[in-house]
Subunit: 316 residues, 2 copies
Amino acid sequence: ADAGAEAAARDRQMSLTKPPGSLGRLEDLACFMAAWQGDARPRINHAQAVVFAGNHGVCAQGVNPYPQEVTVQMVANFEAGGAAINQLCRASGADLSVVALDLDRPTEDFTQGPAMSAAETLDALRRGAAVVDANAQVLVLGEMGIGNSTVAAALAHAAFGGAAADWVGRGTGSDAAGRARKAEVVARGVAKHAGALGFELLAALGGREQAALCGAVLEARARRIPVLLDGFICTAAVAPLFTLDPALLDHCLIGHVSAEPGHAKLLDAIGKAPILSLGMALGEGSGAALALGILRAALECHNGMATFAEAGVSDA
Amino acid sequence: ADAGAEAAARDRQMSLTKPPGSLGRLEDLACFMAAWQGDARPRINHAQAVVFAGNHGVCAQGVNPYPQEVTVQMVANFEAGGAAINQLCRASGADLSVVALDLDRPTEDFTQGPAMSAAETLDALRRGAAVVDANAQVLVLGEMGIGNSTVAAALAHAAFGGAAADWVGRGTGSDAAGRARKAEVVARGVAKHAGALGFELLAALGGREQAALCGAVLEARARRIPVLLDGFICTAAVAPLFTLDPALLDHCLIGHVSAEPGHAKLLDAIGKAPILSLGMALGEGSGAALALGILRAALECHNGMATFAEAGVSDA
């Protein structure tokens, strides 16, 4: 990131017609964008949104009340424009694409062995990286995959410890018995792959959409494109990168804190504050797309407001 | 509000391609709009935003580091398009108007007597009511007035008790000594007008922009137009209505919780949860205008998403 551009953006914020700091997080967001774009007047002319979809072998353990066919059906819904993420991307001005990752070939059940081979993991990482548009000024990331709240809980538990149950929530609609089963499955999977970190962790407990998310995040990092991550699943997906080096996520904002109870705990663990808190738990990138509207508003203020000098307003 | 339209909107939410409840607050916002518009498919084609500005006699007590001329200067900035609220209304698609209320004639100092006469209070109420566009589908309300965080603290303290200092914050930029002075002034004002409620409270401790906000809120209530209130000042401004009947605020949403420490306490007192929490404390309607984007997104999802049946997605 560009410290000079960030400092210039901070100076500009101090000169705008408002009490210093009174736009709160909006000021920080504008300065963050300045740092990553290397421009004291950052812009979002092109926002890219990508939803990665995958299927998971751990569904064999009965962790989800929905059948895995729903992943394919929801991808069709994304492509037809009928899902929440379509409406939210339209509302916030993001170009949405959907990447379905071998949905007819779920990963392996991580309670039995690694979810993916090294080659499969690398392939998904590459596919995630390849989809990033070099001209995007911000990248909104989301996911879809029946069973992937169990995968997320396993990644978070392996990366940050605690008890398996701390990381397990309702997901797409589990009841109390379903949650208990999820926690037990997560505990078994994490015990089986104890000690795995980084790439190995991603392969052992992750899935194709998790690996693709990591690939997209790394590609965006290399291109200095700021990223808006969605909720619990997306944050857990990049936990393996955090275990390698927290700085790999420096260009990432968290769109919202999910109603999934593990998400607040996960955000504490990685030291990031969400932009929104609206009790959402849908995934698809919905919270990140909604937060893009806040990010745009922050830049509208940053670039559009008059300074005290321009407006002839008395500075204190 | 229309319970039938609200129930129909809730049914629609349950049929959309997402786990029930997974859009969290967005679902509630869509149903709230349905109830007030009397339409299961509520729309925002026309959003009106109004900023009321006033000046305050209590500034004679040295409660603000900025001179009162800043109110006039900021009104000119609003009219020239240079303030935060201009950028935020453009970003969220609201038509902004600014109503300057006798800025050359501040209210009286409430530590010496009532801030306004009954006639002045009524006049400001009427001017607030008159500005409401009958065709607006949502009304965004904000304010500007040097000294009005002291007025807000006094109204909140009088309406809801506690200690004066509980309701006093930095405002436009007071230091610790300034806060102590504000708290002392608020305590004296509230003691002087002890027991005042409703209209009398508004006249005793309020100001013209507070009365105009009450007038606009009542007019919107009568026309069933949902209102997005901004932060601490706006919420405190309608506290006199709450003391008469909490239902007078049933059509009001709170755009954000301000960084002013009294605001969270005030929201607890009136039983309303803010939409956003971004550490903002600017006023002008900035938090409400930003929340309009969330409200619009909620309706985009509500009206634009496919149902399970339409999309051929398996319902659990």
